[in-house]
Every structure is written in C-alpha cells, then in structure tokens.
C-alpha cells in the first residue's frame, strides 16, 4: 500500500512518516492490539519511523523534547490521564505532533480506570495501599508527591482525583474506540494515514449507527420482567439479548466493532462509546432500559431494577469521563472536608 504514494509523505520527498505511541492510564492491551494487525505491522515499519513506544522500545522523554514542534506526523495515545506525568507528556506530544489519535476506549472516554472516579484519591489509596487483603502496611505509607530522604528530595507524579479523557487535556484529531480497537479498524486507520486519505478532524474511526443496526439477532417487542446477569442465564443465541433480560448496550453504542461480543453470546458493554446521536451513553441506556420494564407498579419496578446492582458501572463502563457528572461528589456544604483530611494525613 505504501509503494504507490511517495511513502505517504505529503511533500513528495522521501521523508518517512513519523509516528509515536504513548500510554497513559491503560492496561497495555491497546499496545498489544497494535501488534495484532499482524503482517501489516511490517507495512507500518516500511512507511514510518517510530519515535516513541514505551511498551516496546527504549526512547526517553528527552528525545521527544529535542524534536521540532510538529515533527511527528501522527501520535497514538492510549489510556486516560490519571496523573501529572501523563498530563505533562501528552501536552509535550501534542506540541510535537501534527495529528493525535485517541487510541482505545480509555483515551476516548476514560475506560475501565475511570470507574474509579466513583471514589476519591484518598479512598483509592486507602484500598490499594492499606486495606486490600494482599497488602501489609501498618505504618500507612502512601505515595506522596515529595519525600525527603538523606540524599535529598524524591518526587512522584501527583495522582489525580479523576481520570480525564484525552481530549479534556489536549485537542485530539481522531478517535479510534474499542477495548481494544479491533485490528481491522487499526489497519484501516494506518492505511488512511499512509495514503493521506484521513477523514476530517474530529472524526471517530468507527461506525455511525448503533450496534443494534448491525446486530444479527432477531428483535421483537421488548418487555422485561426480570434482569439477569450473564452468569445466571444461558441466553438463546438467536434472539436479542436485551429481550432476554440481559443488559446489552447495543442500542446506544456505535457499531464498527464487528459485533465480536454479540457473536459469542455475550452482551455489548459499550466499549465503542455513544452513537453520534446519543448525548451521553450511560443515561441514554438507563432511559432505554428502564422504559421497557414490564410493570406499572412502583414496588414491582423497584424489585425489578434491584437486579441492576451497579447502574453507574454498567451504563458508564467505558465512558465515565465523558459523562455529565464525571465523578462522585465527595465534598459536603461547599467545603473540601475530604481534601483537608488528606492534607493532614500527608
């Protein structure tokens, strides 16, 4: 694909494309997904130089700092922004890049790490460094931004109270959703970059309709008497999962994923994010699910919805940072009681 188009360079020179990959608050699965494009990775190596890829190659931040502004053609960033180091590096990469791709659901909407937005920093630290069963920390030593040791001061990045999606921090040209993005879409994006046929900035490289639109299952009228978790049911493989009482985020989620989960009898969890029409994925799904409950009696309705034990985690599983509320409110009457407590603890 690269041979016919000047190695993808816009000015017709032999300059290769300059790529960078970076990860923030993510699991590393997105980086693996890049390798999942299999032999196409060789095409990437043919058309592009990779300037940074922390998971696979040894480059230092200093290398990037020394580049001219706008030197990088495309930078792929996966993960949400969780701490001050990530904040700094994404800002740096933004200055050095012509285009930035928010790669994967975490960069697009916060992803799984953003579910921790329902807890404050203090609560997360308490759990991770003190009360979790595999931790012994009787002195309650928590990460702090600065620590004084005999040799001098040591510093750590500040852990934020929230996970931010990438475009809260820097402008983003393209969004490639998915947990992780499927190889076909990555291949499509790379091909578009190589041939200089990218969609207009701001585009989401995925479908434009809801997953239901491309879902192969049979659909009828939805009337739900009982919600079931996936482990409680052996769903029929032909019929709409929602009709069987299994919460499937298909109605509010973009297609383009190839219905990978649906095809193995698992419901959609919404990793492709809201459809272009949905203002907000979670509340749209909440409204849709609730309105098909088959009851007019308040007590019965409450009993039926009690089978959805974690609405926020279910409906905002991948896009919490893209929601209206974004995080749990912890402060009381205008004061930051919790914050003060935390400062005292430091």
């Amino acid at each position: 694909m690269s041979k016919n188009k000047n190695n993808g360079s816009k000015d017709g020179s032999d300059r290769k494309l300059q790529f960078a990959f970076y990860w923030c608050a993510s699991c590393g699965g997105c980086d693996v997904a890049v390798l999942d494009i299999n032999e196409k990775i060789l095409d990437v190596a043919e058309i592009a130089d990779i300037n940074m890829w922390p998971v696979a190659m040894d480059f230092k931040y200093e290398h990037i700092k020394k580049l001219e502004d706008g030197y990088l053609d495309v930078t792929f960033i996966n993960g949400g922004v969780r701490n001050s180091e990530q904040m700094e590096i994404v800002s740096l990469l933004r200055r050095k890049s012509k285009a930035v791709v928010a790669f994967g659901s975490c960069a697009c909407g916060g992803g799984i790490p953003a579910l921790a937005n329902l807890y404050s920093r203090a609560e997360i630290f308490e759990r991770a460094y003190h009360t979790s069963p595999s931790t012994t920390n009787p002195e309650r030593v928590f990460p702090s931004v600065e620590t004084t040791v005999p040799e001098g001061k040591l510093s750590l990045p500040l852990f934020y109270n929230s996970v931010y999606k990438l475009d809260d921090i820097i402008p983003v040209e393209y969004y490639l959703p998915g947990c992780p993005p499927p190889p076909e879409l990555i291949g499509k994006a790379v091909e578009a970059i190589a041939n200089n046929q990218l969609p207009p900035p701001g585009s989401v490289i995925a479908g434009e309709k809801s997953l239901c639109d491309s879902c192969p299952r049979k659909r009828g009228e939805k009337k739900i008497k009982e919600f079931k978790s996936i482990w409680e049911a052996q769903p029929d493989a032909e019929t709409c999962l929602l009709e069987q009482g299994i919460i499937c985020l298909g109605p509010v989620t973009r297609d383009g994923c190839g219905a990978r989960c649906i095809n193995v009898n698992m419901p959609c969890r919404g990793c492709f994010g809201p459809t272009p029409e949905a203002v907000e994925q979670g509340s749209k799904m909440l409204g849709a699910v609730a309105s098909v409950i088959d009851s007019k009696d308040e007590d019965e309705i409450r009993r039926i919805i009690s089978k959805i034990p974690d609405p926020a985690g279910t409906f905002y599983r991948f896009y919490m940072s893209d929601s209206f509320l974004r995080k749990k409110i912890t402060g009381g009457t205008g004061s930051n009681a919790e914050e003060k407590k935390e400062e005292v603890a430091r």
Binding site: K65, S84, E85, M87, E88, I89, S91, L92, R95, L118, L154, S155, L156, P157, L158, Y160, N161, S162, Y164, D167, D168, I169, I170, P171, V279, E280, G282, S283, K284, L286, G287, V289, A290, S291, I293, K296, E298, I301, R302, I305, I308, D310, P311, A312, G313, F315, S323, F324, L325, R326, K327, K328, I329, T330, G331, T333, G334, S335, N336, E339
Partner: protein, 180 residues
C-alpha cells in the same frame, strides 16, 4: 467563591436552584393555576415545560445537576391520567434507576423528585416546592464543577476548553513540571 457559599449557608441566605421539568398537560398547568390563584411558593423553582414526564430523559436531569442545579423536580400527570397514555409510567420506571445512579455519583436522593401533580393541584405544587427547598437548604449546595478538576489543581482554559496545570506552565516555559 467557595467561602461566599459557606458564608451564605451559615447565614441562612443560601437559595438553592431547583430545575423543574413539568409536563405540559398537568403539572405545568398546575403551576399556572398556582400563579392565577396567587398561591405563593419559593422562587427557587425554574420551570422547563416538557410535553410529557416521559419526555424527561435521564440525561436532562444529569445535565441540570452538572450545570449547577441543586435539585431537580419532575412533574407529571397522575398514573392513568397521562395525555399520551403511557408516558408517565416511563418516568415512573426511570426514576428509581436514576436515583440509584445519582446516589453512586454522590448526589443525595432527596435532590431528585418525581411527583404527580394534576392541573388542579396548584397548592400541591406549592407545597412540594416549599418542602424541597427546605430539604435542599439542609443539604447545601452541590459543587460538581468545582469538584471535577479543581481538587487536582487544574484550571479550565476558556479559550481552548482544555484543562491546564497552572503550576506546570510557569516551570521554565516547558509546559510541564519536571518529572523524575
């Protein structure tokens, strides 16, 4: 600003903002009746007329809170009286799930109410608003915007709409604090 609110709460002059999504056929007409009958109710309620309580999307309630409302009231026709037959039942089904969601986000259940108010119940509307205002005064203001990023030391640049770290931009003009 934070201090101001605290002072206002302490001095009792804090007035909560309540957004009311009232259905055209019953609750809005009820509010109208309250007006023509000169029934007094607190001015804290800002009414948005919707065609049906079933039109109330959960997103509208969440957005109201996110934009600074301290409480949200949804008013519809009594069950069985809906102008569109089933609309208020849709609201009835959404409300408990929405309440559970709000609670997870740290928003007290008492800040959101779904009430059936018919066109003849102007005084009932006034009573509900009075009750809600009193309850929310006890709860104090919701400060969602502030909580969202100010606790991380970030500021919103209104020109770009992006969050910035003011401490970092002064550090040697490098756009970021040095990270070890």
């Amino acid at each position: 600003m934070n201090k101001n609110i605290e002072e206002r709460v302490n001095s009792g002059s804090y007035e909560p903002k309540i957004i009311g999504f009232l259905c055209n056929w019953c609750s809005y007409t009820g509010a109208d009746l309250a007006g023509t009958a000169r029934i007094k109710y607190p001015a804290n309620l800002k009414i948005v007329r919707v065609m049906c309580s079933g039109r109330m999307e959960p997103a509208m309630v969440l957005k109201a809170f996110a934009e600074g409302a301290d409480g949200v009231l949804v008013g519809g026709c009594h069950p069985g009286d809906c102008h569109y037959m089933e609309g208020n039942y849709k609201a009835l089904r959404r409300a408990p799930l929405l309440e559970a969601l709000l609670e997870q986000f740290g928003i007290d259940r008492r800040r959101f109410r779904l009430e059936w108010i018919s066109a003849s119940e102007g005084s009932r509307l006034a009573d509900i608003v009075k009750e809600m205002v009193n309850e929310i005064k006890q709860l104090g203001p919701l400060q969602i915007k502030k909580e969202n990023f100010e606790t991380d030391g970030l500021v919103l640049n209104p020109a770009t709409g992006k969050l910035e770290n003011p401490a970092a931009s002064t550090a040697e003009g490098k756009g970021g604090a040095e990270v070890v």
